[in-house]
């Protein structure tokens, strides 16, 4: 990916145990170690180890990133209802909203947003392990919003998951990616709808 000056700001949100922070970390690794860009990844979680609301914020840029918090996101990924409700106002006009249809029930959206939905958890369950929902989502993002280059995202993912799960995760990534490409080709990306 060519060096870019402008910052790309991403919020990934869900609950503890879903691999939300790992997903942000993979994105940051992809941008930093494979694409040669700058990236910061910060995380937000409560005192609970599992089940509490959590989010990771990733900023990717061709230049140094002074302020590592995301105030206005270009991409918001929601893998829990609470994450969706809490973070929706942080999505910038013209931003991209992605959610897991198995976990999030959506309401009205800003008409300037592009929206994508994906049953990431169901796809992962079908493949034998719902813990891979985040990797399905990552593959999906590599098609609909490649914040880092798709090859870099795949490479970084393979390096980050436990070695014995590599093949399954590679498949999960592909399933998500195919789904995203399919949506793009069919032109079925959603447009934000105001709540009537």
């Amino acid at each position: 990916m060519a060096a870019k000056k402008k910052e790309t700001r991403v919020i990934i949100t869900g609950f503890g145990g879903q691999g939300i922070v790992l997903t942000g970390n993979i994105l940051g690794q992809a941008a930093t170690l494979h694409d040669g860009l700058h990236a910061t990844m910060t995380q937000n979680y409560g005192p609970e180890a599992r089940g509490g609301s959590c989010s990771s914020q990733v900023i990717i840029s061709g230049a140094e990133i002074p302020y590592p918090y995301v105030e206005q996101a270009d991409l918001l990924v929601c893998m829990s209802q609470e994450g969706y409700t809490k973070n929706l106002s942080a999505l910038a006009p013209g931003g991209v909203l992605v959610w897991d249809t198995n976990l999030v029930k959506t309401g009205g959206h800003d008409p300037s947003w592009r929206t994508f939905d994906l049953p990431a958890t169901a796809i992962a369950e079908e493949m034998g392990n719902k813990m891979m929902a985040n990797i399905v989502m990552l593959g999906f993002l590599s098609a609909v919003f490649p914040a880092a280059s798709p090859e870099a995202m795949r490479e970084a993912m393979l390096a980050a998951v436990p070695p014995r799960t590599k093949d399954k995760n590679a498949l999960a990534f592909e399933r998500g990616r195919e789904r995203g490409q399919g949506l793009l080709e069919s032109g079925r990306a959603g447009q934000g709808r105001r709540r009537s």
């Binding site: 995380q43 302020y67 918090y69």
Partner: protein
């Protein structure tokens, strides 16, 4: 034992992990600690890494014991450290004083969260800065470094070890939750390009050696246990032999030594980065994570042609008195953002001494300071100054 001592290469790691790698690269082979958010990842990584390279990791019963253990390890000849956050830092204070009094090299990383008490365990604060300076009782001087990125967590931890070895004093790495938990590019250089300093060893024969008699630089060579020297280590006021002496003149001599070695060498210890300071009318003086917010604000001001500069403090203690005093005489105002109710800004005000206005921007913790708030304050100060 099957691990590399220096993980040379490019990494995407968080600040806590980088702190651990910096320590190991500096020669740390002993870690004693008690896990606490947001510093746990330092201990976690140490527990994996130290056994790989022949080092020792001990999870202690609490932070009082952790601090005691690293002092003992240091006297045993190891480079030693612990990591903690506010509540643990409070518990360590008495033994930090023991480390100061016995002139024991060691490093304490405090990944600050918002307090007081257990406060906000997972959220950022910079509220332990005055505690770092004055938290243990009695007169003393201390060294505290303030990293603002995972890269600086690596670099400054190496530096912290070097300073503690050189000046025989506990050195603090005063990080914060965001710097500790943020992942970013960290470049670890080849081992031969990392400067590593180790404590001076005595040249005198055991019958002539005085463990607290300083050289010209104010620092006494340190004989550790097992080297064949007689060493007496006490927190009581002691003479150059290390034996307790209970009077005012021994106290005066000892305090002059433990404060003098830092004060005398302050210019060598102090480190800061200047950005757009030459023609600046308003300078933001900032440290740690708040220096990143300040950098964003200064860049935004410059983009609008406004003469705002940044002085990023890499060491907060000792405080850069001479540079600040000079700066205060040349600018129209100074601004300090901190995630507390105003701590280091008190030093800034004291040293500026009324030569220019000093403005504080802060809040008690839980989030970092937005560059927009700093920019607005700088613009206001530029207007007022006209």
């Amino acid at each position: 034992m099957a691990g590399k001592e220096v993980l040379t290469g490019v990494h995407f790691m968080d600040g806590d992990e980088a702190c651990c790698e910096g320590a190991i690269a500096a020669g740390c082979r002993f870690f004693a600690g008690y896990p606490i958010t947001p510093a746990t990842e330092v201990a976690e990584r140490m527990s994996r890494r130290l056994p790989q390279i022949g080092g020792i990791f001990i999870q202690m019963e609490d932070e009082i014991a952790s601090m005691a253990a690293i002092l003992g390890a240091s006297w045993g000849g190891a480079k030693a450290m612990t990591s903690t956050s506010g509540p643990g830092f409070s518990l360590m204070m008495e033994n930090i004083g023991l480390g100061v009094c016995t002139e024991t090299p060691c490093v304490v990383a405090n990944v600050q969260r918002a307090g007081p008490s257990t406060g906000l365990p997972t959220l950022v604060g910079q509220g332990d800065m005055m505690q770092a300076r004055w938290g243990s009782h009695g007169p003393y001087e201390i060294i505290a470094l303030t990293p603002s990125s995972p890269q600086e967590m690596f670099d400054f931890t190496v530096k912290a070890f070097n300073l503690s070895e050189q000046y025989r004093v506990p050195v603090f790495v005063m990080a914060d939750e965001v710097v500790g938990h943020m992942s970013e590019r960290v470049v670890i250089p080849p081992a031969e390009r990392i400067k590593v300093v180790s404590r001076k060893q005595p040249k005198a024969s055991p019958d002539k050696y005085l463990p607290y008699k300083p050289d010209a630089d104010g620092v006494a060579p340190m004989a550790t246990w097992g080297m064949g020297y007689h060493v007496h280590v006490t927190g009581l006021t002691h003479d150059e032999r290390g034996y307790p002496v209970m009077d005012a003149s021994a106290q005066e001599q000892m305090i002059a030594r433990i404060t003098g070695k830092i004060k005398k060498n302050a210019a060598k210890i102090i480190s800061y980065d200047a950005m757009f300071m030459d023609d600046a009318q308003v300078v933001v003086v900032a440290y740690g994570i708040s220096a990143r917010s300040a950098k964003g604000a200064v860049a935004a001001a410059r983009a609008q042609g406004q003469k705002v500069g940044l002085m990023k403090l890499n060491t907060v203690w000792p405080f850069p008195e001479e540079v600040i005093a000079d700066l205060a005489g040349r600018v129209r105002g100074l601004i300090m953002p901190e995630i507390n109710q105003g701590q280091v800004v008190l030093e800034l005000e004291r040293v500026a001494g009324g030569r220019c206005p000093v403005k504080f921007i802060g809040h008690p913790g839980g989030t970092i300071i937005s560059p927009r708030v700093i920019l607005a304050a700088a613009q206001e100060m530029l207007k007022e100054a006209l």
